[in-house]
């Protein structure tokens, strides 16, 4: 555990001077800003806060923005080490293969939570300041709770992209996989909500009917199981790939 914490700390050290990491966080403001524009256009005030948050935090942020940002982050975390031929130096330290993979995952997880907390903050700012929504602690706590949930679940849903990045030396295929994976989530949810991890996240956060216009039938256990199955396969793929990769041909 201590070794893993050390690895996670080191992973953050490696991100120094990577401006793109910080710039990507700006995209957390995109949907809250569009929600602000949307409600400004219709001139709505005194809204149900959840209606605003549905636009600003529970919509395209879950389906497109956050998974794509996390996909790019995963690729960035892996790609430099492949490109600059660093893995052999890491293996002879020695760094454990799974420790390496999980340290990357925890960076993605922490980043994902931070991203969603910024989204929550931006949602509050863009809804309360223009007076679309009244300031209520209960609705803010609801938003923060849901954002943390989304942050954690989306990081787990990004495991397939992280595993693909680990298995590839280049970045083109992982970027393509990220795009296909993210957009597949949108299309597949219309057919079957219990197949793609991203659509499963929607099922989980919309449980108990807390989000208006959510899915009609909700099976949280099945949705969690699907995310776990995808995650497990991803970890298995990463394990096999890294075991092979440590034997650099």
């Amino acid at each position: 555990m201590r070794a893993l914490l050390n690895l996670i700390q080191i992973e953050f050290c490696k991100l120094r001077r990577k401006k793109l990491i910080w710039l990507m966080l700006l995209s957390a403001f995109v949907m809250p800003f569009f929600a602000f524009l949307y409600f400004r256009y219709f001139g709505n005030t005194g809204l149900d806060p959840v209606m605003f948050y549905k636009w600003s935090a529970f919509g395209y942020t879950i389906f497109i923005i956050l998974p794509f940002v996390l996909g790019v982050l995963s690729i960035m975390l892996i790609h430099d080490e492949n490109r600059y031929d660093m893995l052999k130096q890491l293996w002879i330290v020695p760094v454990s293969k799974m420790g390496y993979f999980f340290s990357k995952f925890f960076v993605v997880l922490i980043y994902s939570i931070c991203f969603m907390l910024i989204t929550a903050l931006a949602s509050v700012l863009f809804s309360v300041i223009p007076n679309y929504v009244e300031f209520e602690w209960s609705s803010i706590l609801f938003l923060v709770e849901k954002c943390i949930e989304i942050g954690v679940l989306t990081a787990f849903a990004t495991l397939p992209i992280l595993a693909t990045s680990v298995s590839q030396e280049g970045y083109i295929l992982p970027v393509c996989v990220t795009l296909i994976y993210v957009f597949a989530g949108i299309f597949i949810v219309q057919v079957n909500a219990y197949f793609h991890p991203l659509s499963c996240i929607l099922v989980i956060i919309a449980r108990n009917g807390v989000i208006p216009g959510g899915l009609p039938e909700i099976n949280v256990i099945l949705a969690l199981l699907i995310i776990c199955v995808w995650g497990s396969f991803s970890i298995l793929l990463a394990n096999i790939t890294l075991a092979r990769e440590s034997k650099v041909e």
Binding site: N6, Y84, I92
Partner: protein
């Protein structure tokens, strides 16, 4: 007492039908510098990778510190420092930050380890220049710094002077020598530059097309192969006949139409000259010569020389 730090037995590596390393038996002794000499593509890096467990062994075995690396990685790796091919580091970090990362990963105890190591290799501490902006020589120095950062007992250095300027090469060479002589480190170094190995190594392994042709100590190699009598004469067949019949010479080598080498240096050159002149053979020159390591390399590889 087991004083062999690296021992390979019939070490073989195949890529498909191509054998790149063929039944190599390597013995690196404790506290000595072992120079692995061979042309580019001879299989030096592959041998090092197999020793370090970075590439699978097709057949044969390798032992480091008396144990197979497989299953003993956590015990053996901390005792090894290595540079394999070009040392890679994080381009967005400075040299100091890169080394700090490796120091953390290794759990290096000494707080001044990074500073001291950078001083040793002649790189600035806490410099603002990122690794991405380093010259090839600086990159190589940082690679060496990383290899010695945790004060390992064994260093495996794959062409460590690649990209260094002549002064840098001399500095690294002196430094490697110092590590062995003063600190008792065992060093396996590969190079395609013969003069470098000749200056540095205590023991030498000559590899060509994946086959270890010779493994010997430098001193033994010098003793065994270098001295001979070189005769340049007008008539080689007649000279050979005289050498065989009168002087009982069996160990000789006819180099060309005018030159013959006699490997028994105890023979009296004056008497040989006199005998040849008496038989009406013109002696153009005669004397004791020393083969260079390059000549030896040519002889045993049966090919061209090496830089």
């Amino acid at each position: 007492m087991n004083d062999t730090v690296i021992k390979t037995k019939q070490l073989t590596k195949k890529y498909g039908d191509q054998t790149v390393v063929n039944k190599v038996n390597l013995h690196v002794k404790k506290g000595r510098i072992y120079g692995l000499l061979g042309r580019n593509g001879a299989g030096k890096t592959t041998i090092m990778k197999m020793i370090l467990g970075l590439t699978p062994i097709t057949s044969g075995s390798s032992e480091v510190f008396g144990n197979s690396l497989s299953g003993n990685e956590k015990k053996i790796y901390p005792r090894i420092g290595a540079i394999i091919e070009n040392p890679g580091f994080y381009p967005n970090l400075t040299g100091t930050e890169n080394l700090e990362i490796f120091a953390k990963l290794r759990g290096t105890a000494s707080p001044d380890a990074v500073k001291n190591t950078l001083e040793i290799v002649g790189l600035p501490y806490k410099d603002k220049k990122t690794f991405g902006k380093y010259s090839l020589g600086m990159k190589q120095r940082l690679g060496i710094a990383n290899a010695i950062l945790h004060d390992p007992e064994l260093l495996i250095l794959d062409e460590p002077t690649n990209g260094l300027d002549p002064i840098g090469i001399a500095e690294v060479r002196d430094f490697i020598k110092k590590l062995s002589v003063e600190h008792g480190k065992t060093i396996l170094i590969s190079s395609h530059i013969l003069s470098e190995i000749a200056i540095l190594a205590d023991d030498i392994g000559i590899i060509d097309r994946g086959i270890l042709l010779e493994e010997s100590s430098m001193s033994e190699l010098e003793k065994r192969n270098r001295k001979y009598i070189l005769l340049q004469v007008s008539d080689i067949p007649k000279t050979v006949l005289i050498l065989e019949q009168r002087f009982n010479v069996k160990d000789y080598f006819v180099q060309d139409e005018q030159t013959v080498r006699i490997y028994d240096t105890t023979l009296n050159i004056g008497e040989i000259n006199k005998a040849l002149v008496m038989e009406d053979i013109t002696v153009i020159s005669s004397g004791i010569c020393h083969d260079t390591l390059e000549d030896y390399f040519k002889k045993i590889t049966g090919g061209e020389g090496i830089a």
